[in-house]
């Protein structure tokens, strides 16, 4: 394996007087990929092992297939609040002790909540893997939530919301955009952290019911990366997670439609804003929902349209026409439901919103009508694939990718096939994807401006 990789690299270097070709990079990724192993325990827990001997550390990530999109209107913020409360103890581990134990064993830990998943992770020395697995398995079933811990943590979550959202005008506007784009009261329309009123009302009963409903070995993926072996992980996972009985968890559903009343415009005038921002989001298919066959071409589209300072949008808006200080396009396919494709512009102060919109529309129309060149598609593919090779250089990125894909209905085979699928995207695919997504009937345009009269 190592030999084959060396040989390939040699070949790449020779051919790289111009640049490594897309197929060569895709091949490099496939061949160079560290062997990942996956197995499933009898209780349904899927386990993925990503060995790497680089440093004497190992990372455990336990991802539950539940996120804020599994909440209902009036009860937002439960998934994230529960993530906080998972540090508040079991019969065996006192409130707040989980992280202290990891720390005094020379490790670090944290957790995160997304629309579709909730993850808990620790990085420790390899011989502490047994310890963190025991504690993680313990809190999968034995969580205890005390009223007094709930009361103080509620204030913490509200402070987190103030820091991330209420203090940040762009984040407040983003909440309004999602409400329109995904349809009021629907999944993805509501903020992950929840609305402040819901956070204030949340009860122990709600948290406990959510925990019982979704926290089960069959509804989770365990990823272990770093200085370990599949054999060791299998043994430890069997020992700690194996005895936990599976509980049936209902199949999660996501709406096939987003907002019903599109296109929409939302704007926010805010005294805390000094310079305007213009953006537009379109409903877009993900790997899982909508016209999923476009998910790979959309990644190439985002890259070549606005993924770097050599992209079409940047050149048009910033470099050539001096209409903007910055310009970007973005798309993330990893979602259980529909996702969004976004374009954002920071206008030069002397330019009007109408000028900006006309220029962005012109670039989009030029792409859809005039097509894209094989050369620019290849450069975008190159960047995406090179990014993936660099991701393999970091211990943290493997678990992140596997966790996101496997918790949203994806498979190991899909992750393996990603380089080939990106490499297979043609210029015609890119234009077809743009036509599907860039439709008025799926768009929300947002404008963030200084407060009326504040300039």
């Amino acid at each position: 394996m190592t030999l084959r990789r060396r040989a390939l690299l040699g070949g790449l270097a020779a051919g790289a007087a111009v640049s490594p070709s897309v197929p060569a990079l895709a091949k490099l990724l496939t061949v160079g990929r560290r062997p990942a192993e996956s197995f499933t325990l009898a209780n349904g827990l899927q386990v993925v092992v990503l060995p790497s001997r680089r440093a004497p550390i190992v990372t455990q990530v336990l991802v539950y297939k539940v996120g804020s999109a599994d909440e209902t209107f009036g009860h937002t913020g439960v998934a994230h609040f529960l993530e906080h409360m998972m540090f508040k103890g079991t019969d065996k581990v006192a409130p707040g002790e989980f992280s202290r134990i990891v720390s005094r064993n020379g490790g670090r830990d944290n957790a995160y909540t997304t629309y579709d998943s909730t993850g808990y992770h620790q990085t420790v020395a390899p011989d502490r893997l047994d310890l963190v697995m025991r504690m993680e398995a313990d809190r999968m079933v034995n969580l205890r939530i005390a009223e007094k811990d709930l009361v103080s943590e509620r204030q913490v979550v509200l402070e987190e919301r103030r820091m991330r959202t209420d203090n940040v005008p762009a984040a407040l506007l983003n909440e309004a955009v999602n409400e329109q784009l995904f349809g009021r009261h629907k999944p993805y329309a509501m903020p992950i952290i929840g609305y402040a009123d819901d956070i204030r009302r949340l009860s122990i009963n709600e948290l406990t019911a959510f925990y019982r409903r979704f926290y089960s070995p069959g509804n989770a993926v365990l990823i272990v990366a770093g200085d370990t072996t599949p054999e060791v992980v299998r043994k430890l996972a069997q020992k700690h997670y194996g005895p936990i009985p599976n509980r049936r968890v209902e199949v999660r559903r996501r709406p096939a439609q987003g907002g019903t009343d599109l296109p929409q415009r939302v704007s926010r005038g805010d005294a805390r804003v000094v310079e305007p921002r213009w953006s537009r989001e379109w409903l877009a298919p993900s790997y899982r929902k909508g016209d999923t066959k476009h998910a790979y071409a959309l990644q190439v589209l985002a890259r070549l349209f606005g993924g770097s300072e050599t992209s079409r949008l940047w050149r048009a808006m910033v470099a050539d026409n001096k209409l903007a200080l910055s310009a970007y396009a973005g798309y993330s396919p990893t979602s259980l439901g529909l996702t969004s494709f976004g374009v954002g512009i920071q206008p030069v102060l002397t330019r009007t919103v109408m000028e900006i919109e006309a220029a962005v529309d012109f670039e989009m129309k030029k792409l859809v009508d005039g097509g894209v060149t094989a050369d620019e598609v290849e450069r975008a593919q190159n960047q995406l694939l090179a990014g993936a090779i660099y991701a393999q250089d970091s211990l943290a990125s493997g678990p992140r990718i596997y966790g996101a894909v496997l918790s949203t209905g994806g498979t190991m085979a899909e992750i393996d096939a990603w380089p080939e699928r990106i490499a297979a995207v043609t210029p015609a695919d890119v234009v077809a994807a743009a036509r599907v997504v860039w439709r008025d009937s799926g768009a929300v345009t947002a404008l963030l401006t200084p407060a009326e009269g504040s300039r």
Binding site: A13, R54, G106, E275, L395
Partner: protein, 445 residues
């Protein structure tokens, strides 16, 4: 709870015994000198087909010439905006074609750069580095673009509570000293910068004297030496820019409130800190870890967040500069409660100053700090960054081996002494940004 605990205490002793060796062993640092005399540290690692280079030049934004505040940062940003025969677009396209990431940034004391390249494309990567270092273009059009972006960032930073707090703190602590200046510059001075001034600044800072280089990844010694001489060899040896003047820390307490229309106030507090070469450094690191460093185990985290729910984040950290050292504490809390959060932070500082830390806290901090070194060896770039920070601190590679012994030698009394020396809140500068209730500027401005 107790059963888990008891077996853990034993486990801690075991882990202390082997972790240091393992962590140090993972980083086998070779020290090389190239034929042209460039000194470099190398960690050869063939586990991924990547080479990461981290380097820095002596002299940063604190030595921006008078009337040119921001010239070093703007120059650093423009180094990759076109060089040699390649204009900005061509240079970046070339980077993308060979999958090279190259960037420069300036801090108060140094101008730093990082290169990341697939080992198969290393020659093209080092060639782009050579061009950026020796033939940057500073095309007027790109100067205008980066200037406008920088000014825009300065404008936005004035509305972000955390940025405002950080800037206000540095201004207050370093009044009359070059460290008071915003590394990004001022609108007024930025508007006067010309391509010529930027070129001159590059000529002064990009010299081989004071250059520190570290490399990690799939590359051998001989080839690295060859490529470094190619990239840096055309730079003049030159001289290291003079250090900023000595700093006299404030001796009186001060509170500054900056009004911003936000529901949550950001608070930062700073005291004079400890120099990196002070013999009590690791005692201070341990004290800081117990007080508010490292995360979810600290006293501040427990008292401010866990017990009272006063904040989402609260932490403390040691900062070192060439001519100053600080202990900085920060948190953010609803306007109505930020006064209480600050009171608790100060109470914890006072408790630490009076009582020091417990045996248990000392032992836990030692285990964490020893193990945490390995946690930072996560990618080629982060290992190169670790080497670079050792070089900047004037340490030798063996420090990674010695470090564990230095940490474990710290005694309770050492921590008590450093707490008494550092945690003197009669000299504390506090900045609160927001609409805090019950917190006012003192002395009145």
């Amino acid at each position: 709870m107790s059963s888990v605990h008891r077996c853990l205490v034993l486990a801690v002793a075991a882990v202390l015994a082997w972790l240091p060796a393992a962590a140090a062993g993972a980083v086998d640092i070779k020290q090389l000198t190239t034929p042209l005399g460039i000194k470099v540290w190398l960690v050869e690692d063939k586990s991924t087909p990547v080479v990461a280079l981290s380097f820095s030049f002596a002299g940063g934004t604190a030595s921006d010439p008078a009337g040119q505040a921001g010239v070093t940062s703007l120059m650093a940003a423009l180094l990759t905006d076109g060089a040699g025969t390649l204009d900005a677009q061509a240079f970046l396209r070339r980077q993308e074609e060979v999958a090279v990431s190259l960037g420069f940034s300036a801090s108060l004391d140094r101008l730093s750069g990082a290169l990341r390249v697939l080992s198969a494309n290393r020659e093209q990567g080092f060639e782009l580095l050579r061009l950026a270092l020796t033939q940057p273009r500073f095309d007027p059009e790109m100067v205008e673009q980066r200037r406008a972006q920088t000014i825009s960032q300065l404008n936005q930073a004035e509305q972000q509570p955390r940025s405002v707090a950080g800037r206000t703190l540095m201004k207050a602590l370093f009044a009359g000293h070059p460290y008071a200046a915003d590394p990004e510059g001022t609108r007024e001075d930025l508007n006067t910068l010309t391509p010529d001034l930027l070129k001159r600044r590059a000529a002064v800072l990009l010299v081989r004297s004071g250059l520190l280089v570290s490399a990690v990844g799939d590359i051998g010694e001989a080839e690295l030496a060859h490529l470094l001489d190619h990239a840096f060899g055309d730079l003049v040896v030159g001289t290291v820019p003079p250090l900023p003047p000595e700093w006299t820390p404030p001796t009186a307490p001060r509170t500054i409130v900056v009004e911003r229309p936000v529901p949550q106030s950001t608070a930062v507090m700073a005291l004079p800190g400890i120099a990196r070469d002070d013999p009590a450094w690791y005692a201070a690191v341990i004290m800081n870890h117990v007080l508010g460093g490292g995360g979810q185990q600290s006293r501040l985290f427990n008292e401010v967040r866990e017990k009272r729910g006063l904040a989402y984040g609260v932490s403390s950290g040691l900062r070192t500069y060439k001519r100053a050292a600080l202990l900085v504490l920060s948190t953010a809390s609803a306007n109505e409660r930020v006064g209480e959060a600050i009171r608790i932070v100060r109470a914890e500082m006072a408790r630490m100053r009076t009582d020091g830390v417990t045996e248990r806290e000392l032992a836990d901090a030692k285990t964490y700090l020893t193990g945490a070194l390995a946690l930072s060896l996560d990618s080629s770039g982060s290992i190169a960054g670790l080497l670079q920070s050792l070089q900047v601190d004037g340490l030798d590679p063996e420090h990674l081996t010695r470090r564990a012994a230095l940490i474990s030698a710290v005694k309770l009394e050492d921590v008590r002494q450093i707490a008494r020396r550092l945690l003197r809140d009669e000299a504390m500068t506090t900045v609160v940004v927001g609409k805090p209730v019950g917190v006012v500027s003192e002395p009145k401005e």
